[in-house]
């Protein structure tokens, strides 16, 4: 028997008792990691009145009533706000990172390695640590659209998320692997720096850009502390804030709260399932080279 895996386990041709044990273990693992999601969906779609803490394994009186209730209790606005934040924030984050990575990966200039080091150092500088002074900074920056400061505005929810070290790291690494000849050829054809960046480098970086987009999406979608500090009226509440604010309102049933949580988790699950291969690639480059 050829040993393919660490334990020599092989799904199709292993000996029968071993195989049974392995399948049973897989089922158990799946139950632990998927059953919670299953009960979430089933309870959210149940119309029967249930006690707090009671969950359903199969929908009791299946209905979308909880979802529509949640929708009317702020989830609609929260979803809209979160989508705006993620759309604008992700576009800015990826563009700014790509521009910086182009400079760091393909230009030689004094201070390049220092800049890279300083930017990457922020990876180890958690947002939670700078949250309070960041709030004070946002309170000092005026924003022109409605007057006032960045507090309680889309700008305050979006702009602090634009500078992120991970996409710069991923894109710099990727751009270094692009052969110089391609850039030289474009330069001979009369392309300027920005033209080369836009027409040569960016198209070649598509897989790395997809990786950054998945990570950026999940990072922005997951934000909680920043909106908690910045959003002060229901008009700027993101979906994460709406979900936790439903928790504290006593008149809403648990089914409605779980429906809101369901709406919060569906977009990230979809993004992950669609762009899974880009996600795993980034996960490994980010953690193995750490």
């Amino acid at each position: 028997m050829r040993a393919d895996t660490a334990l020599g386990l092989r799904m199709p041709r292993g000996r029968a008792p071993r195989r049974v044990v392995r399948v049973l273990l897989c089922v158990l693992v799946l139950a632990i990691f998927l059953l919670p999601f299953w009960t979430l969906v089933m309870t959210a779609l149940s119309g029967a009145t249930m006690q707090s803490g009671e969950v359903a394994l199969l929908p009791r009186q299946p209905t979308f009533a909880n979802v529509t209730d949640a929708w009317h209790f702020g989830v609609a606005r929260g979803l809209l706000n979160s989508l705006i934040v993620v759309a604008v924030g992700l576009t800015l984050q990826v563009s700014v990172s790509a521009l910086a990575a182009y400079s760091l990966a393909r230009k030689r200039f004094r201070g390049a390695s220092l800049v890279l080091l300083v930017l990457l150092a922020t990876m180890m500088m958690p947002e939670e640590i700078i949250a309070i002074p960041l709030y004070l900074v946002l309170g000092k920056i005026p924003q022109p659209i409605t007057g006032g400061t960045l507090i309680d505005s889309y700008g305050g929810l979006i702009l602090p998320l634009v500078g992120w070290a991970l996409p710069i790291y991923v894109l710099t690494g990727f751009m270094r692997t692009i052969p110089d000849e391609l850039e030289e050829a474009a330069r001979i054809d009369g392309a300027g720096d920005f033209g080369i960046f836009l027409r040569v480098i960016v198209p070649l970086c598509r897989p790395a850009l997809a990786t950054c987009a998945v990570f950026g999406f999940l990072m922005i979608w997951d934000q909680y502390l920043l909106p908690l500090l910045v959003a002060q009226s229901k008009n700027t509440y993101t979906l994460t804030l709406v979900v936790t604010s439903l928790q504290s309102s006593q008149e809403l049933s648990q089914g409605v709260r779980l429906a809101a949580a369901l709406i919060l988790l569906v977009p990230s699950v979809i993004v992950y399932l669609l762009l899974q291969r880009f996600f795993e690639r980034g996960l490994l480059s980010g953690s193995l080279k750490g």
């Binding site: 803490g53 969950v55 910086a100 309070i132 702009l159 720096d193 997951d222 648990q254 949580a261 369901l262």
Partner: protein, 312 residues
């Protein structure tokens, strides 16, 4: 670049070419910074300014409208005497170490179980990975319901079949922190699994073949081939995990808000309360500054330790 500066003497029609070269030289030095400018602006305003300001504020008593009052290291002295903060530090360290160690352990066994190229296994791995990509707020909301303290709560009725419980989980000071850890492990073990699966895939198959020729059993193979090969990844997973674990905020804030009776208070939730309800921003920034210092020192230690190991 050095050649560009040294060359012009040789050129005959000097003035024109020299200015051209100088302009090109200037442009070459300028263009990289132009591309970097947006990133530097965003990092400067939203990362470095708050960091520096936070450190600055930590030596003041921050009073809105009255002007800040210089207090020197009083905030730090207060922190060293504040037993509530000490408890929060202990919770944070305990939480970081336990969740990271158990996650790595569970992730390793998941990787051993689910390693392999077959379609079914890939599908199972994808399913198991879902907690990682789910927003922490949704995870907290979901588990807050599943861990309901009554006998008919989901997890309680499950362990009731085994003759255990009912456990109060998040509702008792004795079990709240452990319950939070359980949820964190559920969310982070699959992440470690993916990294270990990649590590396992990178092990030279010939080593396994050699093992089977030598007549080694599965345990020997695991002990003498797999574990040594995974050691570098394991140290990275664990050290980075602990450093990241020190900043735990969202799950605590949503699940227990530090309670019951302060049993799950961590450094970040404690600092957040000092700044908001406690109205003591100076103290909060002193706590953040110390957490930042701890993070920097730990990271530097890890980097130094890894470099020393690589040299050896």
């Amino acid at each position: 670049m050095a050649t560009l500066v040294a060359a012009p003497e040789a050129a005959a029609p000097a003035p024109v070419r020299r200015t051209r070269r100088r302009r090109r030289h200037w442009r070459q030095g300028f263009v990289p910074w132009l591309f970097l400018a947006p990133a530097l602006a965003f990092f400067g305003v939203f990362k470095f300014w708050p960091t520096v300001w936070g450190i600055w504020l930590s030596v003041f008593r921050v009073r809105p409208y009255l002007g800040n009052q210089w207090v020197g290291f009083a905030n730090y002295r207060h922190a060293f005497k504040d037993t509530l903060l000490h408890t929060a530090v202990w919770h944070t360290v305990l939480d970081a170490f336990v969740t990271v160690a158990v996650s790595a352990f569970v992730g390793f066994f998941l990787a051993l179980l689910l390693e392999g190229p077959s379609r079914t296994l890939r599908l199972v791995r994808t399913a198991v990975f879902l907690p990682v990509v789910t927003a922490m707020v949704a995870v907290a909301e979901l588990w807050g319901v599943l861990l309901f303290p009554a006998r008919y709560g989901a997890v309680n009725s499950l362990i009731g079949h085994l003759g255990l419980g009912p456990e109060p989980f998040l509702n008792s000071p004795h079990s709240a922190l452990w319950s939070v850890m359980l949820i964190q492990i559920w969310k982070s073990a699959p992440y470690d699994m993916v990294i270990f699966v990649a590590g396992l895939a990178g092990i030279d198959r010939q080593l396994y073949e050699a093992c089977s020729i030598d007549g080694a059993n599965a345990w020997h193979r695991l002990r003498y081939v797999t574990l040594p090969a995974l050691r570098p990844i394991t140290t990275i997973v664990i050290t980075l995990g602990i450093i990241r674990g020190l900043r735990v905020f969202t799950e605590i804030y949503v699940l227990t808000n530090g309670g019951p009776a302060g049993a799950t208070e961590t450094v970040t939730t404690f600092g957040y309360k000092q700044a908001t309800t406690g109205n003591d921003t100076g103290y909060a920034t002193a706590i953040s500054t110390m957490l930042l210092a701890a993070t920097v020192v730990l990271t530097a230690l890890v980097l130094w330790w890894r470099r020393r190991r690589e040299d050896a």
